[in-house]
Each structure stands twice: as C-alpha cells, then as structure tokens.
Symmetry: D2
Amino acid sequence: MKQFFPGIKKIRYEGPDSKNPLAFKHYNPNKKIGKKTMKEHLRFSVAFWHTFKGTGSDPFGGPVYDRPWDIANDCMQQAENTMRAAFEFFTKLGVPFYCWHDRDIAPEADNLKETNARLKNIVNLAKKLQHDTGVKLLWGTSNCFSHPRFTHGAGTNPDAHVFAYAASQIKMAMECTKQLGGANYVFWGGREGYSNLLNTNMKHEQDQMARFLEMAVEHKKKIGFKGTLLIEPKPKEPTKHQYDYDAATVLSFLHKYGLEDEYKLNIEANHATLAGHTFEHDLTVASIDGKLGSIDANRGDYLLGWDTDLFPSDIYSATFAMMVIINQRGLGTGGINFDAKVRRGSFDEKDLFHAHIGGMDSFARGLKIAHKIKNDGVLANFVSERYKSFKSGIGRKVMRGETNFRELEKYILKKGEPKKISGREEMLENLINSYI
Amino acid sequence: MKQFFPGIKKIRYEGPDSKNPLAFKHYNPNKKIGKKTMKEHLRFSVAFWHTFKGTGSDPFGGPVYDRPWDIANDCMQQAENTMRAAFEFFTKLGVPFYCWHDRDIAPEADNLKETNARLKNIVNLAKKLQHDTGVKLLWGTSNCFSHPRFTHGAGTNPDAHVFAYAASQIKMAMECTKQLGGANYVFWGGREGYSNLLNTNMKHEQDQMARFLEMAVEHKKKIGFKGTLLIEPKPKEPTKHQYDYDAATVLSFLHKYGLEDEYKLNIEANHATLAGHTFEHDLTVASIDGKLGSIDANRGDYLLGWDTDLFPSDIYSATFAMMVIINQRGLGTGGINFDAKVRRGSFDEKDLFHAHIGGMDSFARGLKIAHKIKNDGVLANFVSERYKSFKSGIGRKVMRGETNFRELEKYILKKGEPKKISGREEMLENLINSYI
Amino acid sequence: MKQFFPGIKKIRYEGPDSKNPLAFKHYNPNKKIGKKTMKEHLRFSVAFWHTFKGTGSDPFGGPVYDRPWDIANDCMQQAENTMRAAFEFFTKLGVPFYCWHDRDIAPEADNLKETNARLKNIVNLAKKLQHDTGVKLLWGTSNCFSHPRFTHGAGTNPDAHVFAYAASQIKMAMECTKQLGGANYVFWGGREGYSNLLNTNMKHEQDQMARFLEMAVEHKKKIGFKGTLLIEPKPKEPTKHQYDYDAATVLSFLHKYGLEDEYKLNIEANHATLAGHTFEHDLTVASIDGKLGSIDANRGDYLLGWDTDLFPSDIYSATFAMMVIINQRGLGTGGINFDAKVRRGSFDEKDLFHAHIGGMDSFARGLKIAHKIKNDGVLANFVSERYKSFKSGIGRKVMRGETNFRELEKYILKKGEPKKISGREEMLENLINSYI
Amino acid sequence: MKQFFPGIKKIRYEGPDSKNPLAFKHYNPNKKIGKKTMKEHLRFSVAFWHTFKGTGSDPFGGPVYDRPWDIANDCMQQAENTMRAAFEFFTKLGVPFYCWHDRDIAPEADNLKETNARLKNIVNLAKKLQHDTGVKLLWGTSNCFSHPRFTHGAGTNPDAHVFAYAASQIKMAMECTKQLGGANYVFWGGREGYSNLLNTNMKHEQDQMARFLEMAVEHKKKIGFKGTLLIEPKPKEPTKHQYDYDAATVLSFLHKYGLEDEYKLNIEANHATLAGHTFEHDLTVASIDGKLGSIDANRGDYLLGWDTDLFPSDIYSATFAMMVIINQRGLGTGGINFDAKVRRGSFDEKDLFHAHIGGMDSFARGLKIAHKIKNDGVLANFVSERYKSFKSGIGRKVMRGETNFRELEKYILKKGEPKKISGREEMLENLINSYI
C-alpha cells in the first residue's frame, strides 16, 4: 500500500524530557488518570477538513500545499487517496476518532443524485478503513455553507428551494454518519445568519430554522440513529450576525422552540472567544445546563478578529477546559476534536504531526493538572466555603423559595451591613500557576 | 424659586434652518407623524444619574463639574436642590419623562432604615414636582452595584447577607416607583456576573438570581404595582462576565426559569454594541419575541471597548432604531431614555441642553425618516418579495410543519439546483441614504 | 464590439429627488464646488481587482459570480475581455481613473519571462483603451502577496531568493505604470510582517524592507517615472503583525531610514479602523506631515475584525474625509479609489453599478457638506479661538521656543489656576448634523 | 514604629514545592542566572499609586478598601503614614525599587506653592526611608491628568495657561526625582490626545508637545539629572485618540522633532495589547531601535477593552518579555515595575502580597525559562539559519546596498522560482511548551 507519510513512524510517548519533536511528552494513551485512561478521558479526534483538505489559502492568496494525496487526476481517485492518507495519519498519530463534513470526503457532482452516489462510495471505503484500524467516527456533519446556493443561508435561506436542498444534504449526511457508527451528528449553521438587516425578516428565518431542526429530529428517529445531535455556536463568521452566536443564544433558541431535549452543544474555543467569552465560560454555560456534548479544540488569536483555528498549545486554556470536563464527568459520546489548522507557511506534511502532537500534549497536560487540582480539593473547598451562607439560615430559605422581600428587609433591618470578604483572585491565580 | 439654569429659556422648535443651537430643528412635540404626535411616539426621558449626578470623573481623574445644585452643605438639602434643578431642566427641555436609581435621588445613610427615610422624603418632593409640571416617571430602579457591599454581586453574591440587602433595596425602590406612578421598573444587574471563574459557582449564582426575580414578581403583585418589569442586558461591565450579556442571553435565562411572561427587556444601544451586535439587532431580537419594552438611547464608540454613553447623534442609528419601534407599533409603557452623558470637558450646564437637544433631534429625525420609509413601502415590499417562496408550494408546507426530509429530498432530485438571487444590499443602502 | 453590461446605459446625474437607482443623486461631475469641479475634487477611481476579478469567495465558500468576461477558455483572452469590460464599466459609470495590481490584469505564467510578456501585452491593450476613452491610470501596484512564494513575505522574506523575485515583479509593474502614464505607484506590503515572533528577526526584516524601498526609488529615477510613490498602511491582515500598521508607523519607518522625502501615504478607511483609529484620524496624521497622497475609500464593519471592504455609504465618514482633503487643498496626484467590493450575495453585474453609484454619491455629498462647512467658517473659527492663547504672551513664547520650565513655573506661581473651558463636543456634533 | 502589615513576615524563597502562599516559589533574589543574580536581572519595582493609593473604585462604584494608612485625619499625616507603610511593604516583599507620581506621595493643595512645599516634605521622608532600607527609586513622574485643569490635555492643552501649569509640575517632579537618586524619569501623557477631532488642531498640539519635551531635556541638563528620560506609550485611554499610541508612534514623533537621542520608552504590557500588539511585539519594536528603557509589567484582559492592569501571572507572557530583555542584555537603568492592581474584591492587605508574589514569581520563572532557551541555542539557531541566504551571494549584496532591481530581475530570470520552506511555527510553539 502506498504510504503518504513515508518518513514518519508511529508517534510514541517518550515523556517530558524527550527532545524528539515527533514524540509525545505528555499524552500516554493507556496511562490511567483517576479511573479512566488518558485515551478515554480525552477522546481525541482529527478534523478531516483542515488536516486533509486544507490548502493554506487565505483571503490574500490561494492554495500553497503540495499534498501527495491530491495528485490523482480523477476527483474520486483523489478522494479515495485522501481517505487512505487520513487513516494512515490517524493510525500513526494514535487518535481514536475523526470527523468530517460530507463534502470533505467526497466532492460534489453536478446533481444531487450523483453527489450522493459519490458520497456512498467513499463512506463504504471509510467503513472498511474504520474496521481495519479501529479508528471511529466522532461525528459527521454536512457542509451547507460553501456552495454558492447557500450564500443567503441554508435552513434560513429566503428561498424555500434552497431550504429543501439543505434538508436533502443533511438527510444523506445523517444517514452516512449512522452507517459509520458515528457517535454524534453536528449542525454548524455556517450561513445561518444575516448579512444585512435591511433585506432580512429575522423572525421568519428563525421560524424556518426551528422547522428545520424539528425535521432533523424526526428523521433521526425515523432512521434509528442513536448518536447525539449537537449544535455548534459561532458568532460573526461568515455572515455578519450568525444566529447561533454563543452557547446562551443557542440555548435560548432551543427553549423558545421546545427543542431543548433533543440537542446538545459542540463548543469551540475560538468561537467562544469571538463571541466575547473565554472558552471555559462557554463550556460552563453549556455544562451547567447539562448541554455540553463535545468540544472543538483550537486557539484564537485575541488580537485578530476572525477564527484563526490555531492548534491549542496554551496550557492554561487546556487546563481550564479539562476542569469543566472533569467536573461533569467527561464528554459522554463527545470528544476533543482538533478543529485547527497549521499556519499557511507550515508547508510540510510533517507540520501536521507537529501540530497535532502539540495539541494532544497540551490537553494531556491540562488533564493531568486538572485532575491534580480536583484531587487536592483546595480550589473546590475554597469555592464551596464561599457559598456556604446559602446552606443554612436565611440563605437556605432563599434557595428553597421559602422567603420573600419583606422577610429579607426585616432581616437586614436587624442584621445591618454585611462584611467585606476578599474573593482572593490573585491567590487563586498563583495556586493555578503552582500546578503548571 | 431659585433658578438653576437662569440663562436658558424653554427650548422651542424652530425648524431645520434655525441657526440657534438652543432650539429644536426636528423635534416638534405636537406634530403628528402618522396617527401619533412626536411626543407620543418618542416618549423621551432624561436619566437623572448622568445629567444631575454625573461629575465628569473617569478612571484617570475625579469630578470636574461645578453644579449649582451641589453647593448646599447638607446632603439632603443637596438632594432636594438637585430634584428641583432636574424638574426645571425637564420643563425647559420639554421632556415628558425621567428615570432614576434610588441612590441618585437620595443619598445612602449609615443604615437601611435611615436610608429609606431619606428616600421617602425625596419621593414626596418628586411627587409634588411631577404634579406641578406634568412630567412623569418612566421607570425607577435600584442601584445595587455602587456600594462596596455589592462588589461580588447583589442577587448573585456568594453571601446570602448581601442577597438579602439587595432584596431590601429593590423592595423599597419598587414601592417608591409605584408611589410615583412609574410606568416600568428596571433591573440592571450591574454586579451580576463574575470576575474570575476560579472562585465562582455559576450554576448557584444563576439559581440565586432566578429566586431573586421570582420574589420581585411576587412583591410586584403583592403591592399592586401595574408597571412593566424590565431587565437591561449588558456585557463586560463592570465585572468581566456579566450574566445578562445581551437580549438572547437574558431571554434564555427567562425561559430556563419560567419567567418569560413576567419580564420584558430594556435595550441599550451601547450595551448591544459591546456585546458584538448592532443596536437594531438587539432591538429586533427582543421585538420578535414581543419583549422589547423600552430603550436606553445613547451611542458607543466602536473604537473604544467600554460604555462611552455618548449622546445619540448618529442619524443612521436613530433611523434603524425607529424602524424597529414603528414596526412593533411603539414601545407601550416604555420610552426613549437618554442614558447618556456629556463629555468630561463639557463643563457648562448649557452643554446638558446641547446634548439632549441633539439626542432628541436625532431621534425625531429618525422617526420622520422611518415613518416615510414605512409609508413608501419600497423596503417592506422588497423584503416580503424575498420570502414569498414560503407562502405557497413546498415552502408553505415547510412553515406549516407538513413536510419532512424525505419529501424535500425528492423535491430536489426533481427540481435540481436553485437560482442565485441577489440580496441587493448596496441598492438598499443607497435607498436608505436617499431618505436621509 | 461585444457589450458586457448590455442592459446598462451611461449613468447620469438626476438630482436628489430621482427615484432611479441607476442615476446619481449627488455626483454631478462638471458642477463646480468652489473653484474646482466635482470631478477634479474627487478624482474617482475603480479598483480593477474587486470589481472585475472579485469572485465573491470568502473563507467559507468559493467563487459565486458568473461574469461574462470570465467565459473564454484561454486565459489571455479572458484577460483581454476583462480589460474591455472594465473600460466599458468605467465609461458607463463616468469615472476618470482606475487602478490595478499587475496580476489582476494579466495572469501569472510558469516563469517570469512569460509572465512579463503577458503583462506587456495587456498593458498595450490598456494603453489603447485609455486613449480611446480618456480614462486614466491613478496608480499601478504589484501583487507580491498572493503567490505561495510570498507566504513568508516579499521584501521581508527570510529568503533572499524571494526578495529578488519581489524586486523583479515591482520593477516590471513600475515600468508598466510609467508606460500607462500612471499618476502614482503604490506599495501595499501584503505579506510584509510576521506570523510568529518565534521564527522572526524583526530588525533584519525591517532593514531588508528599507533596502527594498531604496532600490525602488533608485529605479524610479532611473526610468524617469514622475508619479508619486505611495505606501499603504495596514494592520493585522494577512499576517498577524503587519509592519505598515498605520500612518504613524509607516512615517516612523520612513524617518528611521531617511526615506521620508521619497514616499507619501495611501490611506484606506478600513485599514485605519482596523488599526484602532478613525479614517479621519489617519488621514489627518498623514496630512499634517504633508504625506497624504491618495485614499482608498471603503467602509469597515466595526463589529467585525477584518477588512470588509464595504462600499463607502456612510455620509458622516465621507464628510469627515472630505474635510481633511479640502483642508490640504486636494489630493494632488492622488484620488479616491474604491477599494471596495460588493457583498457575496450581490450576484449581478448591476450590483457593481449600484455599489459604485452609492460610493460616488456619498463622497459627492461629503464634498458638498465639507465645502459648506468650510465656507461658513463656524467650525474653523471655533477651533482657531480655542488655541488663541498660543498667539500671544506666554503661549507665543512657548511656540517660538523662547521660554523654559523656570519661567513657566514663575508664571503659574503668579497667575494661579487656569479656567475650565468647555470643549463643546455636543454642540459641534449637532452643528455637523445641521449640515447633513 | 507602627506596623501596617502586622501579620506578615518577610517573604522568603521556599522553592516550587512550597504550599505556603506567602512564599516565593521561583524568585530567589541572590541566585545567579548566568552572570547576574535574579535581583539584578529583574530589578522589580512596586507602583506606589496602585498599591498604596488604589481604592478599588471603578466606573460603577467608589472606594472599597479600608487601609490602615488612610486613617489619619490630616492629609499630610496620611501621606506620611502611607510612605511608611510603603517602605514596610517594600522591605517585607524584598523589592529593590519603587515608583511614584508626585500626587501619589503628597496631596495637591490649593496653590502650587503649597503643593510643592508638601511634596518636598514627603520627599525628605522618602529620602530617609530609602537610606534606612536600601530601597531605591526606579522612576518618578508627574500626574498631569487627574486634576480637572488637565481635562483637555497638559502639554497639548489648547490653553497655554494649562501648558504652563504642566511645565511647573514636571519641573518640580523631575527635581524631586533627582533628589531621591531616581534612575529614570517617566512621561506618561495621560491627557495628551484628543476626544473629538472637530474641536482639535492636531498639528498645533503635536508642535506644543515637542516644545514641551525639548524644555524637559533642557531642564534635565540644567539641573544635572543623570537618569534616563522615558516616554510611556498608551492608546485609547483616557482620551479617545492618545498621541502616544504605541512604540512605533512615539518613535515617529521623536524622529520628526529630532528628539530621538534624548528619550527612551517605558513599555507597558496592557498598553501594547490595547494598541493591537502583543507585549513582546512592542518590546521588540523598542528594543531593535535601542529604545527599550524600562517596562511596566501587568496583564490585560483580551476580552475587555480597557486597561485592566491585572498582575502579570501568565508564564508565557513573562517568558516572551524576558527573552527580549535578555537579548538586549538587560534594561540598563530601567526595571520591571508592577503597574498592576488587585481586583476590586481583593479587600485585604494580604492580597497585595499575594499579587506581588505572583507577579515576581511569574517573571522569575520567565527569566529562568528564557535563560535556558537562550543557553540551549536551539531557537536562536533556527532563526539564524532561516535568514542565512542574506549572508552570502545576492542576499549579501542586498544587505550591503550593492545591487539593484535590474540585477535582481536578471537573477530571477536565471534562477527561477524559490523553494517553499516551512516556517515551523507549530514545532516552535511545542518547543516553548517543552521549557515551561
């Protein structure tokens, strides 16, 4: 079998002191952290689009990579080569999962029938490769944003014809996901938003979207797909006002249309920060409502105003994310998908390995640190102590709904001014540093 | 009676060609625009805090204004003078409404009992002045953010003692609002948020807040207050992650805790833009859910990252806001409150007039333009035409919930690719300019 | 001759009351505003790249336009058709100027020799069309950022081989500009910056750039090109830290390397705002140093963090820009180039007309307003009065360098505290509104 | 002698495993890192204003701290207590330096004469305490921004009277700095900028500023002050467009007015990030011009748009800063001043220790890491290798100014296309992580 990464051997764990850039320093898949192995905790996934279909293009220049899997003249041969290259990569890297959009793995044809035939073809190959390697599908999704037809939206397009097209695509993508045993199905509404309020009926578009998601639930049940349905919030890109701005906005939408029991969230680091939140904030917003289903791990550049999709190399961020995940006892059917891309100038296939190794090591380190923080209990005790006044007396009555404004006024008239208690932010930040 | 603005006469409408800076060029209160007068449409309100208690201080320097109503040595005499100055201002400016925080109109004393006594005193004076002048209270609210006790939050404070204090304040402020015939009562949760996730239990704090708002509803009913309860969203200030980030976030919260029938929103321009939206976006988000209750009119500086509270002088923004308001047939019990302040270097009392005249003229102009756009129907027809495919055939079935993914796939397999239809953004922007 | 815009006639001035979207409401080219016609004041230019080579692609989707000039199979036939379409557009729109990058007008071949031959070919065609129509070249420039070779920079590339390539391109582009009688030559250093400080020697790169610009001056003189050399500042895009961040940064660079007499600036609205300034701020920074050479007119979206290149439809911004330009008595060899693109969903060729008409009308309106403001003198008098203390006494001594800290201390010990004088910002903003 | 921090003992180094929050884990002052001790490398300084005069107030609430040194009724007794508390703090913390604004250490009186007398008084006390403890003054500066008189600027005020006042203040502050043996004198032009371009003559204001800085140089020489003059860049705060936006802008100003030999820069982390740069970017911009004189260490919040002045606890940022400092062989007369403040809710004096310990440990760790990176040479070698093509052949001729566009074109016509070489950003980021 042709090798697409001939110079690269399986990436091994060599420990923190290794100088080998093609080895893990922290990710040791079968090492137990608490009751689960690192592999079980982290459920790493490679994103097919960035790693195998990424070209390095940006708004100021076209493709720059010369990938060996892109050489074939026939587009379906290319697709097949790409899928084989991907599984070679997954295996050498040692990740248990991958993710795709329908159009990543098989190119669109002139009509839907032929497009679907191509997709089925490649899905059959993927199924075989999954079986051969043990690598699994974390989630599938449909690209309803790149084709010109989706310029004004997919589910929220003012043209019902386009709405129907999107429905057809997602129907097929969900069926393919089921065929491959995908653990989740993701909705990222790339063009669900508006560019200009002047030509937009926002209420109508939101009603459309709700109808779309209802049909998706119905179809899921119809075909017996057991995975989790996930919505991925994102603000600002590509259209100006994306409807799925952030976790809270999506939750509001789900509540309004009675869909909250059918969908969870896939939270991406860089999407959270573009919405003005920290990654851990949006993870927490989703988690406290029992809606944190999966994560897209990457890193934004706070000084740039778009989704840079950098590989997640920041140990602080990985630690804070793992603290939320450990706190809710894992991601369930979800995982940590590297929705990240190498920089335009990282021309070599080897750079793909550097990037993923860095991301996996960062989250492995985050896991170890978060686990230690949890085990030591210092931080959790501090927080628990901080809220203890709500566990007895007037505070307990508040939480139980057993008091009212009049009683609280009497309480204050008697008790007077509360004490000022330090929040100890600086001490706690030092504490975190002592674990890193 | 002492005059606080001795050099200023009642501001009159003199029309667009007037060169008199102390005259209205566009706001002509009794002129009918459609079926209502400008005064009825716009329901202007002056914000007591900025206009009478504003000092010009900023993080780099203290108070700079020498206001004649601040001269008295006794703090209650000062409060009384300030209230009298305010009504002189309202009358000379010709606004029908004003708004206050409890602590703006009467200074806090050493204990709640005395503080409440002071407040009652001033409320009695305000009642008399309202009666004498016909000026009304648009809304009251309680300042639960300035005092040191609220550093870690009011309703979301980790200390139940502080929670109780906030409840006591809001109880009294709501009662005073009722006494003055206030049309609404506003919650702006200045310190409801967190500074650092490390010391925070977000779920607990949100549960606390929900309990707080439930008790507020109960108290409202108990005392027979008939006004609308409004929540004002704001991101980022003063604490890092404010819980009431934007309209969608507040709506999500209200849905989650079953409070959606009890509260509407008070949308502020600069809060919307700090959250990454346009003013008209957040107005629309609230409006399409029937939740747009009132607005705080001001202007942010897009190049600065904090609430600049500039007076609203941008005609585009005023026009877009009025388009939303006209579309929902007015603000009901709400109004347009100038939550805006003169610049630090606008030292003179006269500058307060310049500022309000500019804001009122901008919105009056926005009203006239929005009304003309609505009447001409060109824009509305364009939008209606754009969505017409949902009024018949497959689109109609979508909106009625009478179809599914399989039928939509069949539709596409038969119909093929949709047409590309221009969204005409540039043409529509030119159209708007032709009205200005 | 084939028509590329068959349904569009020459755009005419029909005045503010016209309802015809394909007519000018304000731009009346031969109407005198002061001593110059509108055409002479505004010197409008169409940007070849956006208007004829723009595809509507964005980071989330590929090309969407079906342009009749793109139909030919042969790439040079396509280039020729595009140039002919462009001149048809210029003529129908009635703009006196256009601008290009070398690679816009002729596609790159496999080697520089052939690439240059193609370019010469098209330049000959352009020369003929310029002669036939009277349309002139405002400026030429070289695209040293799109090709993969420029990924790590052109003049600042760590590889001298790439540096040499960039030099070769710019040599040729400058010669073509001269051949077409271009009034200016522009440097926009698209890839001059760094993506990551870890792999960068900033000092070396800046020294490289200085050498590059010195050679450009030498070559200009060598070939006898009489146009102005312009540098276009831009922050953040495409590489993280662009060296030509804003006007002040470029001026600092020019001073440091003694190049300040050889270059002026081409200021773009959206580049200024991405750098944290208003358009009029950066125009003023350049203008007060005698370095404002030309402008790229467009509009950013303050809520988005990238160069949106919207057409300039904001009348405030156009007014403020024209105030700076009038103040320095015009742009000399420069002009107002629409470095702007229609939105992705503006699929039709007609939208290109809507967009340019809107931009031209906005600046025409800005010109009329700015001229009236200047003529009335109210604003200028206010400013002059504000600084009058520097025209006599101690202020005059300060400006003449005839005093020192000791004398100033004595002055204060004698004179005491200065008065507080209002800056009247609100009044002045109302004044501007009264002109709009 | 009264103790202001009675419960706190001298902070000791206890190493990374210590659980004592009031001990250093990394800062070991006399430990050698290379040829210098940590103390000599880092030259830590405490900022008098934040640590002793900070009140915890923010735009939404007033002072919250109850400091024992604020108790005295007499303002000069308070100033004396504060100075004594400061030296107790410096000594217990073990920092070698501190910094002040004139108005931090002695309160302003009704007139300049009395104000200066107060200042002299306190300076005498400081001199004695410096002598007793060995703590030194890193720099002094004058607060020409808080008083109402400076609302429209100090050196750039439109009123010459205010200009003179600022000159008087700075004269005295510079003399006091000299008296205390200050190693530098800093200019932070808090109000040097404009709020509104409509009322501003930017050219005039910049000319004023240049005159001001010329007089400062003259006065420095006159009194024989040997310290370094430093300008601190800052964008956006407090006035909208600050003239000293960032390092490049200040360098441009200095070049334009021929002042570049007289001033260096004091670069602050949070000011750099507000200007759209990383801290290390602005440090490098200053350093490569030989102008990096000192630093203000703190941390911004990238999600907030103002100067949060958080204590610097991010190890990445401290490492990158120390890499620049080590690279230029130290800060000379400068140091690392903690221009940082505890959060509003950090009510206790103990929090001041937590905060500074965290900051000092972070920079100590950054120093150790940066030193190791430097010593290992891997990164430096990578960068050197990357630019090697400029050390011979055509590259060498470029850097020596011995070639031109024609020769470079010939070179390319012969050599053809350059190779694509990976910039290895991901690998280098992993490398940095391996040192942390």
